[in-house]
């Protein structure tokens, strides 16, 4: 299909063409426009939980990753009000978990940290919860550091949908929400996870870590050290207009 034949909506005043079935964020990224996001992953059906991608569509707030694109929609994203909201949400996530970036293996490759930098979040602002979440080091090759989980469910879905296993699940309510693994012992070593699993690749933060390779790429030369997440995200987005799977 020719781009000009496609329906379109407005994002901060610019016209964004879309193929029916795309959500606002999918269309925006495809067209080379960044909307900050965290739990959205181009290979998975949007989850819509972090709410960092919140925009205003015809004046009403909505998550851009789950909002179906519609012809004629007027979407605001890069406004002070919405960026303030995003900063608040990122601060809330930092305060909720235990994120000691300087000692975290994921530093520089972490989406949460990168978003913080990109949005200009200087402090966590709120009082920290300092939750007690012991790490699971039972597996010889994989470490789980639950302190950093943002509950995006990507590992759960990758394990279920791609690996066909169901190694992970989210449970608990409210602030007691937490990640569990599929074993009576509760230990990762007793699950059927394998080093080749997709579930090992999707965590946007530093929960699921391969052992023995931690600092192979030194801090300072990592993904988001090189360029901000707003630029990186556009590279990662599918740039073609056709739907992903034919």
């Amino acid at each position: 299909m020719n781009e000009s034949d496609l329906p379109s909506f407005l994002l901060d005043g610019e016209e964004i063409p879309f193929t029916p079935g795309q959500t606002v964020i999918q269309a925006a990224l495809t067209a080379g426009h960044y909307i900050p996001h965290l739990c959205y992953h181009p290979e998975f059906v949007p989850h819509g939980s972090c709410k960092v991608c919140t925009v205003k569509a015809n004046g009403r707030p909505a998550a851009a990753c789950t909002l179906p694109a519609q012809a004629g929609l007027a979407v605001e994203s890069d406004t002070d009000e919405l960026n303030d909201l995003r900063r608040t949400l990122v601060q809330m996530l930092f305060a909720e978990g235990n994120h000691f970036c300087p000692s975290c293996e994921k530093s520089g490759n972490c989406m949460l940290q990168a978003l913080g930098y990109d949005l200009g979040v200087m402090t966590a602002g709120f009082r920290h919860f300092f939750p007690d979440r012991p790490v699971d080091a039972s597996h010889p090759d994989i470490l789980l550091d639950f302190n950093r989980c943002i509950f995006c469910k990507l590992c759960v879905r990758a394990s279920e949908e791609v690996d066909g296993k169901g190694v992970f699940s989210l449970t608990g309510r409210g602030i007691m929400r937490h990640l569990i693994v599929s074993a009576e012992s509760g230990r990762l070593a007793d699950t059927d996870i394998a080093l080749t699993d997709k579930a090992l690749e999707v965590c946007p933060v530093g929960v699921i870590l391969r052992k023995h390779v931690g600092f192979a790429v030194p801090i300072g030369r990592r993904r988001y050290d090189e360029r901000p997440i707003s630029a990186q995200a556009l590279d990662d987005a599918p740039r073609m207009m056709e739907p992903k799977h034919g």
Partner: protein, 628 residues
């Protein structure tokens, strides 16, 4: 499982539900009813027989407050913790029982006999404080009744041997109008709908011709009843006030392999108990409304019905099953209902397991499907993609009752009552500081003042200070607003009406609600999961006398984020109580922040004089900074 396991096997429970994973919550609940808790091997076994991952089953179980993955004792006593329970002395009673039975709140007693804890509002607000013992509701907690209970527990008496009087829940109907006063016979509304569809209105066939001639354009079949529901201007009673006719029509028009009718009997909003009374006293009417709905939306195809009954109302399960059985026997459920060929419909009851968020319609559907009760992203809405992806109507208990009345009496009759934008009547669950708490049915448009007068609030003693209309997610109003009306165009209400007299500390009231939301947030989205917990910490800090203006500012920042970005209504409204108190009862908070302007009488620098004398110093470094 070990061979000498005394309980019904996991396999037997799974078999009864045809190994359908959509019944996972029901299976977990039933397994727990016999075993007391769900042990790790049971989870493994259940996952294996259902072909689910173990983590998935554990994940579901750990979502619901009433499902236990750890031993909780042979007797589990839960004290309802709504603000009205507290006003009726629940906290002191909990302490009394804990002391009497030597068990610490939230812990299992050393002998494993019992545990005592709190739970969200159990819907016994008009006869509180409410209790749940092993899931069974006990109203009117008092020292005397707790003495009886303590003795029964120490005697290890099984619950079904306890005196029935302990479990007697009253209906307390104080004012009846067209709904509570109805005298419809079972089947009347269904027959009326079928007759109307034949062009006979509700009169006998003799009148049919003349009526048809007078209304040549009138719809036939189920559409005729749909027209009446729309004409009645019936709006949902679960809170949002969505047009029932529009909802039914959208579902009717949506393509699907089957259409579903779901009755939302989760009634989790603190201070609301009118659905309990409707299900206890007018269960037939509820079923009539659901069956009429099935007739309207089914289009001759397959339909299924569900009642999602909150776990706190477990005691209504057997009576409701009996009503369903009676209706099946009378041809009002099952195949060819009322002799109408192809009109097949039945109703199943799902019992919830302690999660307020499951009252949100898409979370409710997730729970019906055997999952954690997490609200879905919408669109699509349940009317097109509901239970198992099929078109589904979700309505409140009271909405179905009203729909049944409309099916019999017609839309004009119904809309003649109430106000222009709010047709018909509304059931209010009145509790708190008043002489006659209970159920009051009024035409829409009644003033708050009228209700207060009728329920005996503030008569001759303490004046009424405030009313929480529609529960914590609703609106808190003060005495200057008592002439406002209960109606969608002024004060919409899902039914709660909690009265507070002048002795009540409104900050404490709001704090109770803030705790409720933090406990009930499903945890899916950042703003609500983290925001409700932060709010809870802040109000506790203020309560402890350590609050500052900064906490108030942070609460405002959080409120804004939650209001804008939360995924569902719970997160959107979770800040209402504090915001209402800040707006209407500012002194209640300001009083707690007094440390701000507080100049302590104790002078620290003067107290250091002794030290200065002893060290012989009097330089600047030996003084605290003091204002000039």
């Amino acid at each position: 499982m070990s061979r000498n396991d005394p309980y019904p096997s996991v396999d037997a429970v799974v078999e009864r539900y045809h190994a359908d994973a959509a019944y996972l919550v029901q299976m977990l609940r039933e397994i727990q009813e016999t075993r007391g808790w769900i042990a790790p091997p049971v989870v493994t076994e259940l996952a294996r027989t259902l072909g689910l991952s173990r983590a998935r089953v554990e994940g579901v179980a750990a979502f619901y407050s009433f499902l236990h993955l750890r031993p909780v004792g042979a007797y589990r006593v839960l004290f309802s913790d709504n603000v009205t329970d507290r006003m009726q002395g629940s906290e002191a009673l909990l302490a009394y029982l804990s002391e009497k039975l030597w068990v610490e709140k939230g812990k299992l007693s050393e002998d494993g006999l019992l545990s005592i804890d709190t739970t969200s509002c159990t819907g016994l607000c008009d006869q509180g404080p409410g209790l749940l013992v092993n899931g069974r509701a006990i109203p009117r907690a008092s020292r005397e009744r707790l003495d009886v209970i303590a003795a029964l527990i120490l005697d290890r008496q099984p619950l079904d041997q306890w005196p029935a009087e302990l479990f007697a829940v009253e209906d307390n109907i104080r004012r009846a109008d067209l709904l509570l006063g109805n005298r419809l016979a079972p089947g009347e509304a269904i027959r009326a709908a079928i007759l109307r569809g034949r062009g006979g209105q509700t009169e006998a066939a003799a009148n049919e011709r003349s009526w048809r001639e007078a209304n040549p354009a009138a719809a036939l079949g189920p559409a005729a009843t749909l027209e009446e529901i729309k004409r009645a201007n019936l709006r949902g009673r679960g809170g949002a006030g969505f047009g029932t006719g529009v909802k039914w029509e959208a579902c009717r028009n949506a393509p699907g392999e089957m259409h579903c009718v779901v009755c939302n009997a989760d009634e989790g909003e603190p201070g609301t108990f009118k659905d309990r009374v409707l299900l206890n006293r007018h269960a037939d009417l509820v079923c009539e409304g659901m069956t009429v709905c099935a007739y309207v939306i089914g289009g001759g195809g397959a339909t299924r019905g569900f009642i999602y009954l909150r776990g706190e109302y477990r005691h209504l399960l057997e009576p409701l099953e009996a009503v369903l059985a009676r209706r099946r026997a009378a041809g009002l459920l099952g195949r060819d209902i009322c002799g109408e060929p192809g009109f097949d419909f039945d109703i199943e009851i799902h019992v919830g397991a302690g999660a307020y968020v499951c009252g949100e319609e898409s979370a409710l559907i997730e729970s019906l499907e055997g999952k954690r009760g997490i609200p879905r992203s919408r669109p699509p809405y349940p009317v097109t993609h509901g239970y198992l992806g099929q078109p589904t109507v979700v309505n409140n208990v009271e909405t179905f009752c009203a729909a049944a009345l409309v099916a019999v009496h017609g839309g004009e009759w119904y809309r003649a009552v109430g106000t222009a934008k709010s047709a018909g009547t509304k059931l209010l669950s009145v509790s708190g500081d008043c002489e006659r708490p209970g159920i009051y049915e009024y035409p829409f448009g009644v003033t708050v003042r009228q209700v207060l007068e009728d329920c005996g609030a503030g008569v001759g003693k303490r004046a009424t200070q405030a009313v929480q209309v529609s529960g914590p997610s609703g609106t808190l109003i003060d005495a200057s607003e008592f002439d406002r009306r209960i109606a969608f165009e002024d004060l919409p209400s899902a039914g709660a009406f909690m009265v507070f007299d002048e002795t009540r500390d409104m900050f404490d009231v709001a704090r109770n609600f803030v705790h409720f939301f933090a406990h009930e947030s499903c945890g899916f989205c950042t703003p609500c999961r983290v925001g409700t917990a932060m709010m809870r910490n802040m109000v506790d800090k203020i309560h402890g006398g350590r609050g500052t203006q900064r906490d108030i500012d942070e609460m405002c920042q959080l409120s804004k984020a939650m209001h804008m970005a939360a995924h569902c209504g719970l997160g959107h409204t979770a800040c209402n109580p504090m915001q209402d108190v800040m707006k209407r009862f500012r002194p209640a908070i300001q009083r707690r922040l007094r440390r701000l302007e507080f100049a302590p009488a104790f002078d620290l620098d003067a107290a250091l004089a002794v030290g200065r004398r002893m060290t012989g110093r009097d330089d600047a470094g030996a003084h605290l900074e003091t204002e000039a």
